[in-house]
């Protein structure tokens, strides 16, 4: 039954994508969804795109394993949008940039910064895609017994077909649909689980868990406070640097709409993230043996309810999980492919975009098969750390600080992004490490983010002659409301 549900989600994604194809004909439609998407649709699409396997399966698994300290993960993944809202959303929309490299180029008037940003987008995208494919493999293996790579390949294929046929327009509708599907698929089984918990006498946690697991900073993890702070920093500051999130802001008609969309996104995510903690908590009571895996969300319905209802609910959460794989992977693939087509293959033509799509999907698929399997939310957390140490300083300083120079931006991106990437590589290929080094590598944000900011600011002070000449005009474009008739310069993104 779960297999049928997976098939249904895949078929629905392809069908909706094909429906969207009839609506998108020209290249500019293909890229930007013509800006005819309403705020609720757009916010649902952002939510659908953002809630990945890490949110749907990973958080509950990590909470079940590590306890209350992991509650910060969903808090940060939501709160990141508050930081994004106040520091970035409206100016970013007004910049007219379609991707992060576009923003880098328009603000700093430098192709070197643009290319560096492009490389970082691709790296973050791949790092984020890899665990999605791995999780798909794990889930499919759990329901059919197929080898691990089959699930990843299946998701990669559907995503590639969808992205190639529909482009942004159809993706927007697919994504919006996926948010509501994921919310339903997590909330409905939870209602039944809580009913089963009550009718079972509402058991509490075992005494040992109530004294340790349930309390923050009481777990067995070393350097708990450092890890908590680093996690908070990575998630709150990394959200604004995720490539697939920023593309969506371009579909808002103006800066004001971008702010309002972010507000709706925050509400939608807040509603969703109330759920995984409950799964983690119920899992600790009914399935403590699942610690260390991402399986708790998928397993609880059959353990606690069983029978036909249990099967039905399992099918529903499995469908939700695949919706999560598909939506996040599609969004990431569109952004990564856009950057590869634009900056590496050199052209905005639909044909370059198609070749780039294949590249965007195959590399992380290979990584997923080859790399060691970490908990999905951990790897996604590392992608946030890279984004927080590279694009967060670029965006915040670029939007609010006139004296940012192109050399400073470049140095900050290279040092911050480079250090974070090195830590991630060490963690994925060689980890886990012990002691302080282990904590510093597993959660690099607390040291890489400050370093990135300091380097960007210090080098900008040292190279005042590299402050872009058009910065005053750029500031007018970034910050003045669109209703005013002002000269905002003639920069246009290359992608549209």
């Amino acid at each position: 039954m779960s297999l049928a549900a997976v098939g249904l989600v895949m078929a629905a994604a392809i069908l909706i994508g094909a429906f969207g194809l009839r609506l998108s004909r020209t290249t500019s439609d293909f890229y930007v969804a013509s800006r005819t998407v309403t705020p609720l649709w757009n916010a649902s699409a952002i939510g659908g795109e953002y809630l990945s396997a890490a949110s749907f399966l990973g958080i509950a698994g990590l909470i079940l394993t590590h306890g209350a300290d992991m509650l910060w993960l969903p808090v940060g993944w939501t709160g990141g949008y508050l930081v994004l809202l106040v520091l970035v959303s409206a100016p970013l929309r007004r910049s007219g940039a379609y991707t992060l490299p576009d923003f880098a180029e328009s603000r700093l008037e430098s192709m070197a910064v643009r290319r560096t940003a492009g490389v970082l987008v691709v790296l973050i995208g791949w790092l984020y895609l890899m665990p999605q494919f791995q999780s798909a493999g794990i889930v499919l293996r759990a329901i059919t017994g197929a080898p691990g790579w089959v699930g990843g390949l299946l998701v990669a294929l559907v995503v590639a077909v969808n992205v190639l046929s529909g482009g942004m327009r159809s993706i927007t509708f697919v994504q919006a649909f996926q948010y509501w599907l994921k919310l339903t698929a997590l909330a409905l089984p939870l209602v039944f689980l809580l009913l089963a918990w009550r009718s079972g006498g509402a058991p509490g946690l075992p005494a040992h868990d109530a004294a340790h697991w349930q309390l923050p900073l009481a777990g067995a993890k070393e350097y708990g406070l450092y890890s908590t702070y680093s996690l908070i920093l990575a998630t709150f500051l990394g959200t604004m640097g995720l490539p697939h999130v920023l593309v969506r802001f371009y579909t808002n008609p103006d800066g004001r709409a971008a702010r309002r969309t972010t507000l709706v996104v925050l509400s939608l995510l807040g509603a969703f993230y109330l759920l995984p903690a409950l799964y983690g908590w119920l899992g600790r009571i009914y399935a403590p043996d699942l610690a260390g895996t991402d399986a708790v969300v998928l397993t609880l319905p059959s353990r606690m309810i069983g029978g036909t209802l249990g099967d039905l609910l399992t099918a529903l959460v499995t469908a939700g999980a695949f919706a999560a794989f598909l939506s996040t992977s599609s969004g990431l693939t569109v952004s990564v492919a856009g950057v590869i087509a634009q900056d590496l293959l050199g052209g905005g033509a639909v044909r370059a975009f198609r070749l780039a799509t294949l590249l965007a999907v195959t590399v992380p698929l290979g990584l997923a098969v080859w790399a060691r399997a970490l908990p999905v939310a951990d790897v996604v957390g590392l992608a946030f750390a890279v984004a927080a140490s590279s694009f967060c300083p670029l965006l915040v300083l670029g939007i609010w600080w006139r004296r940012l120079s192109s050399t400073g931006a470049l140095a900050g991106l290279l040092v911050g992004g480079g250090l974070a990437c090195a830590a991630v590589m060490a963690q994925i290929t060689g980890g886990p490490f012990d002691g302080l080094v282990g904590a510093l590598l597993a959660q690099p944000a607390a040291w890489t983010v400050p370093i990135a900011f300091v380097v960007m600011i210090a080098v900008s002070f040292l190279t005042p002659h590299h402050v872009p000449p058009g910065v005053a005009r750029t500031m007018v474009r970034l910050h003045t409301p669109e209703t005013l008739n002002l000269d905002r310069g003639d920069w246009r993104p290359r992608s549209s």
Binding site: T78, I232, R260, A277, P481
Partner: protein, 120 residues
């Protein structure tokens, strides 16, 4: 006697510089235009900084509070442990409320700027 002469006719028409609309000051990047832009940026940045500071106090303060006051970790709110009640529930509506207030204030700031620029 060539002394002082009382001016009887106001020469305001000759003395007055042609008045530019503020949008033209901004477009031509005059010093006045810069002042307009800086005032907008400063207002918006102060607002953003205020929200971020409050957020940082709450978010970075909570782990410290749990560390320094261990009784709070085990305290209960309506039968739910306090850390769970806050981190898995109450903090989300607070985020939304903060975001809503920010959006309202930011739009108000922009309206003030529009009024300022379009006044002439």
């Amino acid at each position: 006697m060539k002394g002082r002469v009382t001016v009887t006719s106001p020469r305001t028409a000759a003395a007055r510089r042609p008045r530019y609309p503020a949008s033209r000051e901004i477009d031509e990047q005059t010093r006045l235009g810069e002042v307009y832009m800086r005032s907008l940026l400063r207002t918006q940045f102060r607002l953003a900084l205020f929200v971020c500071t409050v957020l940082a106090c709450v978010v970075l303060g909570l782990p410290l509070l749990f560390l320094l006051v261990p009784e709070l970790r085990a305290a209960e709110l309506a039968g739910v442990p306090l850390p769970w009640a806050v981190l898995a529930g109450l903090i989300y509506p607070l985020f939304v409320a903060g975001a809503w207030l920010y959006v309202r204030q930011a739009e108000r700031n922009e309206r003030h700027f529009e009024d300022l620029v379009e006044r002439q």
